[in-house]
Symmetry: C2
Subunit: 907 residues, 2 copies
């Protein structure tokens, strides 16, 4: 800590020491206040005590800090007095101050704001007289004592169940007066409140409320610095990788008042529409009000622009005459001040080259800007603003790309609830936001019934304890899926994301009673057929029907995607199992299929019968017979995929899941299967029992199936190669990539590769033609990453299956991790859910090692990733750095991945 | 291949070109034959065609090979003719030859031996005349045609179900003669057989049987070289890492005959007792017989020494007079030849400095040695011979250590079946040899009933589909355990090995019908109470009762262990959960406990009630209440361990398994639990359902429990520290090491370490005393190995949990892997079962990385391993190389580990 630097940075109309670049020293708020002053915006004067003072406080304590900065603070106050023409502590016309913390990054848990500091029993009288408004003065004083008592003197509720002690007193006084609203209390009431607040403070804290404004000021400053070190703030920083050493700044600023009568007002404004992105200045204000009144919603705020006011009136069904008289815009009401505000917003947006969120106060006809910051906006607004600012020459391409958060594109890609209907909807449960979008439909509990209901023209939401591959058909026709169990990468979640279908998983409060066909949440009982609505983007479950609408992809979206493609280095493929998926993926800009899960083709229609026949077969001959039935179906599946992806690579994974996923586990379905297949129930039960696994994730699956049943690999290889040849005959360009799953040793790969190559050679001989195809493997066991060099000598491509690789590296079952993962995230054991965003230090290190070893052994090996992480922006940034060739993700995440890949390439 | 070297190496009394050191060139058999000649042993002359000739054959083909070696072979035959005084191909007195393959390492699947080569329709008459024994001559000819027809001309059964075509003919002729034994066929019959054999060969092969001895010779030599490249031999070499390039040698040697009358004999002998190791020459012989007759068991062989003969007579209840007249020893019958044999065995044992297994033939009063090799022996004999030869100065300490195969010590440590009773026992099923030893007892199907039956004084074998922790008590009282499911590291297997109790797991043919209380194997049905016997060392299941006896640890065993300890670098600790285990381990020489699984203490008696109360508790307060009941019990457990291990380190692992292992999963037991605990059945069922996991191996277990329920960690830490202090008060030296399981990130460790350190500090404050203890972690997730440096900065020791690390690195569930692992081993995907012997390339690479990273971060970190691999000699060799401080294994494997550690240190 340097003692030669100063700690206090003034800002105002005559002198400003900071600027926007000094966020580290002055915090975000302080730096922006200084910047506004620099470019000529009228801001109440003040000064910022720097973050270095905070560090000095942490390291050297209160006494030493006060010694260090006392002189500068005195000078700062003198500067503010000079600018504002009032004196701090003056009983007749007191300068009042606001004290706000302001760190580099906004941080919950820290002290926020104290207003009206400087008031005491004498000054309040001077203020009343000067403002000619006794109620205003006492209300200001009341607010100050309450805030200061809370955050500086520590008068908080003693437990979660306890009430705010100040609010308790307010309620008592209101009861005594027989009134309901704070605004109905008069000056005398407020005066009484101040007295009672002070008594409470004395009783609880054992000290009098400080009457000396300087004592108040130092108390507030120290409180801000102390709040930097409170436990909640510390944990937050740990979890968000914010160094403890950063410290917070303190902003001390002159108060201005919007509640001094009808020439005063206060408001918030956006330089563009935060909802749509439209380049239209907009905002709300209230005459004779303070900032918090705008938010409190007691009075209806008025619109700032005439256009905004007219639009509002249309929606609110207010006649133009009524609007003009009762809800005039600022543009109409105070045209001069409106022009000043317009000039300020234009100046600020141009200056920051981004949409600004502004706070302003008009005090007795004079406009003060209190804050500017980059405005929050919807995903749609993000895209539109970035593209329009690029068109307007305000920002360059790279900046435009960085302005859009990839994750927010989700909002543009999925249906959303009708905003008006949503306002009155009731959240009855919460689960994991497993797959985004909105859905509304009638409850069904069984997948086959979902199908039946939909055929009757109904819209359904499928509610299950958990889903299994048997539910695929029902899931695909349902509007949305709700499961009581399972995590973000449970079967339901993964499949739903693949389908781009709304899904909430792991809604723990939901009990499903299949017998009674009831969904029970606490006391609430919903029956089959009742309406239910799901917001898969937030995890909220609503009772009843809420209309949804499809989001449209605007032209700006297309422009953003084209721009992304110009910058990104990673290719983006999609995980798609059906021609429909493939078409969606291609529309979203996928340049290939990175993962086709062939087993998903095993469930539809009569295929499952042949699959089960294979599973029940006693020997290879029996299996071959059943596989022969599957061959034409699989071949036609692949033909459909190759057709859709004409010219682009299609990576097909051989059978992966354990066989028990294909047989029924309940008695009723086993009986049905026995009847269908004309075998004894006993035989089916015995086979199902044989297939039981303790840890199916690590059981008999992946290439282990192909090794023990090479005839399955043979059939699949034949279906792929024959389909490819057939499509080439139709003039299409086919790029087939055959992928062996779950390889752990190179010998597993070569054994499977031998089967595939021999099958292909046999077909080539039969048909007298050849075909180029790639033969590679998924890298999804830790052992495969360790021996990636050996494997790369045999395999032509790698595709990282980071879902399984994460499970095995961390030892987390993704379906079970919800029992401890929330606690793990809370305690900062993992920064992010490792199934959503790749664990770079652990799993990532293995990926990195495998890429290096793989390329050493085969320089031109194609390397991609097809786990869930392929659609996660943070992970994509990692994959870019690691030098992968492509990521592959759900079709609906392809646009997100394209943008994320572009952003990764910018850094 | 060098053309300047020669390919043929003669051996005999006048000239010998090879010696024992030339195994690579001459194969084991050829090198030993040459060595015997060199040291003056009488051996039928011959020559060895070197492995280089085999390579030339493989690379350049038959024609070229014959060109290369023809001249030398001619010279070789001439040499043999000169030595033996007979001529190859001579019709009157033919030199007959034996042709044998002989590679560096013995290898099944290759051609073995052809005897009597050189015979044809003329020579057989000369042989008959010369030997004055027509039957002998025709029998020799019959054998030759049969062997040659089989291995050179390829007349084998056409399928597995088919019979040996030659044996079919023999049976036909015997039927026609009305006789049962081959020996009952006379010369004419044998002559007929030869004719019919030749006809069969002509019909099947389309060629006549060769009559030219030279053609016979070349055919046999080429057949040996071809057999090197047959598919079965190739696969065997691949699986055993034997280079294809080694090649085999061919030994061509003059025939001698022990069946030329009463001055001829043949026999086998051992220089020491192969069963007990006693330094006593022994063996068997038959007068007027060929080698195979000794093995065939048609006649009762006689003993070579008088002492052996007398001992045999005692066992066989043969009176001394009868013995002397009917079964005299060679020592008595042919004292001169016996003295020659004795001189030879002494010379050979001294020469090779190891117990020899000899073959000899006496032809008309002349002794010929046919073979010498290091004799196979029991584990007990291994130990005794090594220690006695060391005492006798024949070998040095290092050689003595290397002479004992660690795995074979098992035979000394566990009960074994009575050998006589075993002979008539019937194997009814086979499973995995999960835990060695022999057991016999009455079948019970339920663990609690095992307990009840044993209390009634019965001996039981517990038969289960699989076991679970609830079965612990029953397992501990049973004589042996048989499970139908599960692998070598299933619950049953691991627990049984820990207890040193006989166990066979995964006996797939065994069906268990719990309702009927029956064990069904094919058509065989055994009921509860029926007798069953298990050989846990071989995996054999026997019907009925077979008496067992405890093996005793002889003084030689103790000497071997002391010797091991002088050489080994690795410490050997034991995995022990109870004071009894600890005592056994200490007796076996463990120098610490490397793993105490605290959860095993949770099952006994009333503890399980408290554990379940904790699991059912709704909140932390409820859990604390239940834990308070467990505290004194755990503390006394630890006191017992510390007492037994006074002065030695005791590593205690905190609670590891998922909580559902502690609750009952069947309705009856759930009802019992509800009644016991006075809660509703519904509540229990709901909690059990909540605890259900898809992949429990990767679920809510290990330190994940301690993180979500820190009060459990707190209780266990308190129990450990208080127990340690209490024992120190009794004057004992306590070295406690507290181990946090399943750590994946350093933060998991530090969070748990904080709880433990705070608990310890609180106890120190309460009691006013301090205690040193180590705080470390298991390294068992791949992620922990990757971040081992981070973890080592916080943890004071590492203990590799290689069971789980193997599961996660390979993605194998050990309980499910039996569905594909046998196939994987067969196909050479893994050389050895990775749960028995550590996968060095995969899992081993992670261990090695973690050790290096760990030591970089903390140079003096203690590093051990406590998985099943800690008791596997091959793995121990790896751990030695990797620089671990100790291995920890089941108490019963401690001696094995000590010896293996010593052997590792020798290399």
């Amino acid at each position: 800590m340097s003692n030669t630097n100063h700690y206090v940075y003034a800002f105002g109309s005559t002198r400003t020491e900071g600027d926007a670049s000094m966020k580290n020293l002055l915090g975000g708020k302080g730096a922006n206040l200084a910047e506004m002053c620099r470019i000529g915006i009228t801001v109440p004067s003040g000064f910022t005590i720097s973050t270095e003072a905070c560090t000095a406080f942490t390291e050297q304590g209160r006494e030493r800090l006060v010694d260090l900065i006392r002189e500068e603070v005195l000078q700062g106050i003198a500067f503010v007095q000079g600018e504002m023409g009032k004196k701090f502590g003056d009983a007749a016309d007191p300068l009042l101050l606001s004290i706000r913390s302001g760190a580099r990054a906004s941080m919950p848990g820290m002290m926020d704001t104290i207003l009206n500091l400087g008031l005491n029993d004498e000054a309040v009288i001077g203020l009343a007289r000067k403002a000619n408004n006794e109620r205003f003065a006492w209300d200001s004083y009341r607010r100050f004592v309450q805030m200061y008592g809370d955050v500086v003197m520590g008068l908080k509720p003693v437990s979660k169940e306890d009430h705010d002690p100040f609010e308790v007193i307010i309620d008592m006084v209101k009861d005594a007066r027989g009134v309901k609203l704070d605004t109905e209390l008069d000056a005398a009431d407020l005066k009484e409140l101040v007295q009672r607040f002070k008594s409470l403070i004395r009783a609880r804290v054992g000290r009098d409320f400080p009457t000396d404004p300087w004592e108040q000021l130092w108390g507030a400053v120290i409180a801000v610095f102390e709040s930097w070190n409170n436990p909640r703030a510390k944990v937050y920083r740990e979890l968000n990788d914010i160094p403890q050493s950063w410290g917070t700044a303190v902003n001390v600023q002159a108060m201005v008042f919007g509640n001094l009568g009808n020439t005063s007002a206060t408001g918030v404004a956006f330089t563009r529409d935060a909802g749509t992105g439209e380049d239209q200045f907009n905002g709300e204000f209230l005459i004779n009000a303070q900032g918090e009144d705008v938010v409190a919603g007691v009075r209806t705020p008025q619109q700032i622009t005439r256009l905004g006011s007219q639009r509002w009136a249309q929606l609110a069904l207010v006649a133009e005459s009524v609007r003009r008289s009762q809800y005039p815009s600022l543009e109409e009401l105070m045209p001069d001040l409106y022009q000043q505000l317009l000039a300020a917003e234009t100046l600020l947006e141009n200056h920051y080259a981004d949409m600004q969120d502004l706070e302003f106060t008009i005090q007795e006809g004079k406009l003060w800007m209190l804050q500017t910051r980059n405005g929050k906006r919807t995903g749609a607004a993000m895209v539109r603003i970035a593209m329009e600012m690029l068109d307007q020459g305000m920002i360059d391409e790279k900046t435009a790309l960085k302005r859009v958060s990839p994750e927010r594109l989700n909002e543009l890609l999925h249906p959303v609830f009708d905003a008006t209907a949503l306002q009155s909807a009731k959240v009855i449960a919460r689960g994991l936001p497993a797959s985004p979008g909105a859905a509304t439909g009638q409850i069904v509990f069984f997948a086959d019934e979902a199908d039946a209901w939909v055929k009757q023209g109904k819209t359904v939401v499928l509610v299950r304890l958990e889903t299994s591959p048997e539910d695929l058909r029902g899931m695909s026709v349902a509007a949305g899926i709700l499961t009581a169990r399972g995590g973000m990468t449970s079967h339901a979640a993964v499949v739903a994301r693949g389908m781009g279908k709304c899904c909430i998983s792991g809604a723990g409060a939901v009990h499903v009673d299949l017998k009674a066909r009831q969904l029970i949440i606490g006391d609430l009982v919903l029956n089959e057929g009742d309406w239910l609505s799901l917001n898969g983007s937030t995890g909220e479950v609503f009772q009843g029907k809420i209309p949804t609408r499809e989001a449209e992809l605007s032209g700006d979206f297309g422009k953003l995607m084209a721009l992304s493609d110009r910058y990104k280095k990673l290719e983006v493929r999609a995980n798609a199992d059906t021609p429909t998926d493939a078409r969606v993926a291609r529309n979203f800009g996928a340049t290939g299929i990175g993962l086709c899960r062939t087993e998903h083709m095993f469930f539809t229609g009569e295929r499952i019968v042949a699959v089960r026949e294979m599973i029940l077969a006693d020997d290879k001959a029996g299996r071959r017979k059943a596989l022969a039935k599957l061959l034409p179906m699989q071949r036609s599946d692949f033909e459909g995929l190759f057709r859709e992806m004409n010219g682009l690579p299609v990576t097909i994974r051989l059978l992966d899941p354990p066989l028990h996923e294909f047989v029924p586990h309940d008695d009723a379905n086993q009986r049905a299967m026995a009847a269908d297949m004309q075998v004894s129930l006993g035989k089916i039960k015995m086979r199902v029992e044989e297939l039981h696994e303790f840890n199916p994730m690590m059981g008999h699956r992946g290439c282990r199936l192909g090794i023990t049943y090479p005839e399955v690999t043979e059939m699949q290889a034949r279906a792929i190669i024959e389909a490819a040849l057939n499509m080439r005959h139709q003039g299409l360009t086919v790029k087939a990539e055959i992928m062996v799953p779950l390889v752990g040793t190179v010998r597993e790969f070569t054994l499977q590769a031998d089967v595939i190559r021999q099958t292909a050679a046999a077909i080539f001989a039969e048909r007298g033609e050849q075909l180029d195809y790639l033969l590679g493997t998924m890298i999804e066991t830790p052992r495969a990453t360790i021996t990636a060099d050996d494997i790369a000598r045999q395999a032509e491509f790698f595709s990282f299956g980071t879902n399984d690789l994460t499970q095995m590296t961390l030892g987390f079952s993704r379906d079970d991790a919800n029992k401890f993962l929330p606690e793990y995230l809370k305690q900062g054991i993992y920064e992010r859910d490792p199934f959503r965003s790749i664990d770079q230090q652990g799993v990532g290190a293995l990926v990195d090692m495998a890429v290096r070893k793989g390329r050493q052994a085969r320089a031109d090996i194609e390397v991609g990733i097809c786990g869930e992480h392929g659609g996660d922006p943070t992970s994509i940034e990692f994959f870019h750095r690691t030098g992968l060739d492509y990521v592959s993700c759900s079709p609906f995440r392809v646009p997100i991945a394209r943008l994320a890949a572009a952003q990764a390439a910018l850094d």
